[in-house]
């Protein structure tokens, strides 16, 4: 039980905020300020814990340049259903975990203007942080689902109690939308669970799934033998089931292990059975999961909860919502949808990309029409998150291109980069809106103007952050966007052209907003006397965001070093899968499968 044990360290990381929330709940009545200070201290401590991973060589660290899961541990939780307390991080989740911890600190700092039921606010906020961290670290599907739901309720109350005038409407809309998503996800989880079978995986695959632990440099087969004889409940059930020699009689060993499900999706036909209306299990699972995740992203046409939620939510909650909650959708796509259901993803790739492009274009157009500052920023999120869906989906490793995964890698890395970049820029944008809202209590874009003269420092920072959103080179937004856009042509040139056109609209709505809010000769709205220069507290939130935006924009390798190996590995696996899939299809159907036909057409 030392801190260098991943089990302890990761659990501490995830549950510390929840424990602190409990403590706050039972503490005797304190001054409001103290609750905020305690919560801030906790979020800072959690952030320091995540920074601990950067000490390379320390007993617990996160190594850059490693593709596999790190700090992995699993403990049986509900053995009879094969549910485990299973967490780890790889390059996909680690940056998101750090981002979560970081933004939580800033959002807590941005919570100072909150004066209503401060104790309740802090408790819910901390619970929310546990949920968010848990989602990114959980590798057991059941555990993932639990964290997913844990996050939902605090958010509902944070919007519904501390929000603006239409908070109840917004909160219920958010809640119901997300709930629909999670119900669909639950169905998909159960579908996958009941079709899964651990006994179909070989030693190496079990090792890759984190079930059989292999010493460094050890042999998977040997470790597997050892594991079978161990007294772990799972190993015992495995042994019991595999005693049955007749494969037709053998029972299935179901699992919620996400990594194992990925292996099954890519290496077995477990999810290929027909489920409904001629479509396979994985087709339905993919569709359900996809809908569940793109609600969160959110993609058009399932996005209308977002503007309402953002407009009504208090500033720090908007920061969290845009900065982290939206990322869970993208994270779900890359961690769950594609690797577990590759065949379905392959079939629906164009649909996915189309949804991404549609969101980009539609979100940008809608942003252009908004009169409410925060609503405009919310629609910009819809547009920017479209890049994520698009970048993940550009399945260009097909026969036509000789199964070249490079462009897809670029797209997927761009999408992941965009998630982090958007986490920084959108949180910053919402915070900047919040700063001015706290002073003048309105958000009507037509009733600002001249802020540069009255709040020069604030305006300078805000313009910087908005330019990060605009995708200006040298700032973080550019890298993600350009990676994604450049990768699309290889997949579909029509989508590529449309997605490239979005740069014009983005420039349009952001520059227009800047002009109306910050430029001009004089302030046109009410409460002009309340406009005071930015405070130190606000500065200490805005400056780190802008600095990060610049660092990632100028030196993206700082982030890619951690992220890229894992993303690349996943894309490589899917590219290999695609090739095998096509070969199988051609072998079983000498005339050429449906997928292969296009390829054949031009080869002739």
């Amino acid at each position: 039980m030392t801190l260098s044990d991943p089990k302890v360290y990761l659990s501490l990381l995830v549950f510390l905020p929840a424990v602190a929330a409990l403590v706050l709940a039972v503490l005797p009545r304190l001054a409001d300020e103290s609750y905020k200070l305690i919560s801030l201290a906790v979020t800072i401590f959690v952030f320091i814990l995540t920074l601990g991973f950067f000490r390379s060589g320390a007993p617990i660290d996160f190594e850059a340049g490693v593709a596999e899961m790190q700090n992995l541990f699993n403990v049986d939780w509900i053995p009879s259903f094969g549910i485990q307390y299973f967490m780890a991080m790889d390059g996909i989740s680690f940056p998101l975990v750090v981002l979560t911890a970081f933004l939580s600190v800033l959002a807590m700092g941005a919570s100072w203007p909150i004066t209503k039921h401060v104790k309740g606010y802090c408790i819910l906020f901390l619970l929310l942080e546990t949920g968010m961290l848990g989602v990114f670290m959980a590798l057991d599907f059941f555990l993932f689902y639990v964290f997913w739901e844990v996050m939902l309720l605090p958010m509902y109350f944070l919007i519904g109690v501390w929000g603006g005038p239409r908070r109840e409407y917004a909160a219920i809309k958010f809640f119901l939308y997300t709930l629909v998503g999670s119900v669909l996800m639950l169905i998909a989880i159960l579908m996958l669970y009941f079709n899964s079978d651990l006994t179909r995986l070989d030693a190496q695959q079990l090792a890759d799934a984190g079930i059989v632990s292999v010493e460094k440099g050890g042999d998977a087969a040997q470790s597997f033998e050892k594991w079978k004889e161990s007294d772990l409940p799972l190993a015992q059930r495995y042994a019991e089931i595999t005693k049955e020699a007749d494969l037709t009689q053998r029972k299935q060993l179901h699992t919620f292990n996400i990594l194992a499900l990925q292996q099954m999706g890519q290496h077995t036909d477990l999810f290929d059975g027909e489920a409904l209306w001629g479509k396979s299990t994985q087709w339905w699972a993919f569709l359900l999961l996809f809908i569940g995740f793109v609600i969160k992203v959110p993609s058009v046409p399932l996005h209308t909860w977002l503007p309402d939620a953002h407009v009504e939510a208090p500033t720090p909650i908007s920061m969290i919502l845009a900065g982290i909650l939206l990322k869970m959708g993208g994270y779900g796509l890359i961690r769950i949808c594609y690797p577990i259901c590759p065949n379905a993803g392959y079939q629906m790739a164009y649909f996915v990309c189309f949804v991404g492009v549609l969101s980009m274009v539609y979100g940008a157009f809608a942003a252009l029409a908004q009169k409410d500052f925060k609503r405009m920023v919310a629609y910009s999120s819809v547009s920017h998150m479209g890049y994520v869906v698009l970048g993940l989906g550009v399945w260009s490793a097909v026969a036509d291109t000789g199964y070249n995964p490079d462009y897809w890698k670029m797209g997927a890395n761009g999408a992941m980069f965009q998630m982090i970049a958007h986490g920084i820029s959108s949180a910053g944008m919402f915070f900047m809106v919040g700063v001015i809202y706290d002073r003048v209590h309105h958000r009507d874009l037509d009733k600002f103007g001249g802020l540069f003269a009255k709040m020069p420092l604030y305006s300078g920072l805000a313009v910087g952050i908005f330019f990060a959103g605009l995708g200006l080179p040298g700032l973080c937004g550019f890298i993600g966007e350009v990676f994604v856009v450049l990768s699309v042509w290889k997949y579909s040139y029509a989508l590529a052209i449309i997605s490239a056109a979005v740069v014009i609209l983005t420039a349009g709505y952001i520059l227009w907003a800047i002009q109306r809010v910050y430029l001009g000769a004089e302030y046109k709205g009410p409460h002009g006397e309340a406009i005071t220069p930015i405070t130190m507290r606000e500065l200490s939130i805005a400056v780190p965001l802008l600095v990060l935006a610049i660092v990632f924009g100028v030196y993206p390798t700082a982030l890619l070093n951690y992220m890229q190996p894992s993303v690349d590995m996943q894309i490589d696996r899917l590219a290999v899968w695609t090739e095998e899939h096509d070969n199988r299809a051609t072998a079983s159907n000498p005339l050429g499968s449906q997928d292969g036909q296009v390829a054949d057409a031009w080869q002739r």
């Binding site: 157009f365 252009l368 490079d406 042509w489 740069v503 520059l511 002009q515 031009w602």
Partner: protein, 800 residues
Amino acid sequence: MDPDTTLPVLLMAAWLVPLASFVLIVLFGKYMGPRGIGAGYLSVLAIVTSAIFSLIAMFGVWLPNHDFPAAHESEHSSSTHDGAVVSATDESHSKDSHSNNPHPDYYTGDWYSLGEFGTLKLTIGYYIDSLTVAMFCMVSVIASCVHIYALGYMHDELHEQFVDHEVTLSSGEHLHRKGRFYRFFQYLSLFCFSMFGIVIAGNVAMVFVFWELVGICSYFLIGFYIERHSASTAANKAFIVNRIGDFGMLIGMMALWSSVGTFAFGDMKNEKGEVEQGLFSLLRPEESEYQLAPPAGMIAEQKRMFAGDPNASAGDAATPAIDPKRNTQGQWLLFIAGVGIFCGCVGKSAQFPLHVWLPDAMEGPTPVSALVHSATMVAAGVYLVGRFYPCFSPEALLVIAYVGCITLFIAATIAITATDIKRVLAYSTVSQLGYMMLSLGLGGWVAGMFHLITHAFFKGLLFLCSGSVIHAVHTNDMTFMGGLRKKMPITAYTMLVGCLAIIGAGFPLSVYGLSGYYSKDAIIEQAWSFGSVNPQHAILKWAPVAGAFITAFYMFRLWYMTFAGQPSDPHRYDHAHESPRVMTGPLIVLAAFAIGIGWPIFHVNDLLEQGRPVGTLSATHGELLTNLTIPSEHDSHVPLIKIPAGIAAFCTALAGVLLASIIYLWRLLNPDELKESFKPLYGFLWNKWYFDELYNYLFVKPTLIVSHCAAWFDRNIIDSILHTSAAICKACSKVVDALFDQTVVDGTVNTLASGTWGLGLWLRKIQTGSLRQYVMFIVIGTVALFVTISIVQAYFIPTS
């Protein structure tokens, strides 16, 4: 000094010094002396340092290591060349002057990577050839002049109270604000950094990065007077119109990226020592004698594109690959890539149809107009066409030529009627950029680049002179000027030099003239050379000549209206005065350059010839348009073309000056009467061919309408579907409540309750309190139990 190592370092230093200045001013500008005057000095120091580094790179490293070709005709560098990273300089090629030219000497490498995906690499690196060095010198020298000039021009911003007479507040007063001296120089420094970034860039992606950065600098500088609505609108317009060009550029980049897989211009060695080929070698391989030959990746990608078309057969028909005589494989994609990249240049260099932003950009302070919007940034588009030149197919070049031709004509005509001195110059800039594009499109690479450099000096000069005038009379409107040459002689005569340079004044058929004489004649010669082999494109031959006439007319109109004749506004005239030395100094320096930079003894032409892109010397023929021939640039020097072209250029320019003199100097014709007699034409030109109005109706309004539709769709369709389904849910639950809950569920419960109640009532009857009766019940019960158990045991439970 070894150019291989010193050139990148020197130019990198020249590139980064302005960045350092920018960062320092951002952080500490406010504290640098009263109103940040120190920031101005810092910025000047930075750019002068850059200029020194650039000049060292030129005179200390480049020239000593690279000899000029001995004579113009016996071409093709046999320059000694040591240590280029990868050099394809092959001296055997210099023997035959008709074979295509190999790669020029260049040095390329990467500094660091933005992202690497398998074989795909996006990097920040450098590509240095003679064009790069020349551009560095040009930009840094002009920028130095402009910076110094701005110290004087912007001194108003040093005041604690700056009164902006163009902004009227709601209270009816003019705006009073603090001066922003340091902020101006902060943006100028950032601009210089970005501009050098474009010039030094080693790949298209890096060009794009700095392309956007100069765009944003331009945005900040145009909108420097943030309080003026017109300024911020012009800034937005500039940036958004540029983004439209960038959209095309992105498409071109995607087409290249997906088919060739690299953005690097030159070849460079990777860590393993293998040579990674850049775009130029891939598209013009040595095997095909540096002729443009789409690589395999491009051919495959084009096939894939047409196959991916839903109407695959139609796609095949559109690909005339069926024709065995024509090799169009990959040519379409090459064309898309070329035109796409050119779209970016159209935006940045304000070419038709995206030229509308540049005149509005004159809202910025005049030094900005001189540096950003005439000499350097807008020339970046031309520079990129020149840099990317080996990758343009003949068809793409034809597009470039036509765009340049249309632009030079439209802009020149608009300049005739404009009365805002800066706008005349702005349209003149657009028109001159059109000349450069035309020249490049017709195969005149050296001519176009040469004009880029000479134009930068004389146009920078003209703008600074106009700034000096505006500084003196506080208006841009030429109708309030006149006769100023007596008040401000230095400005007047330096501006006259600029005017003479821009119209290409010189002694025809001799080697004596101002800088514009050399470059403009070279362009017209190239146009005539092109016209002689492509009679179907005769308009490209005549447009530049017509343009020369109009240019001469409007430039001298400008000079006469401003400096000659009688003052039209005596009040302003009386207050006018020559500008301080800090402003006239740069004017004189630039005037010297405007006179002499083109002189053959300075070898600018030869320097550029050293950088001639690979494979562009021999004539090329179109693959898609088979009757298109891009002539070799050297064919334009034959007397048969040179003499008539030179005479035509001279005569038209002279005619233009004469016409301007007749109307505005000698007043033989009254301009107002002319205005009346050509009223429809005048109105058309005065309204700038109605481009702004047209675009407003064609693009801006529809975009806003679509955006409102999207917002409306969200609120009224998607949300109402949601609300309706929520309402249906609620209604359903009410029905369920009424039908099921209240009857079945509640009914059952109620029945149960009343049943229990009834049972209780009934059972109460047995509660007689009679002990005997109770005993009897117990006995009966016991017996009944016993019997039941016996039966169950006997019949239902199997005996074991």
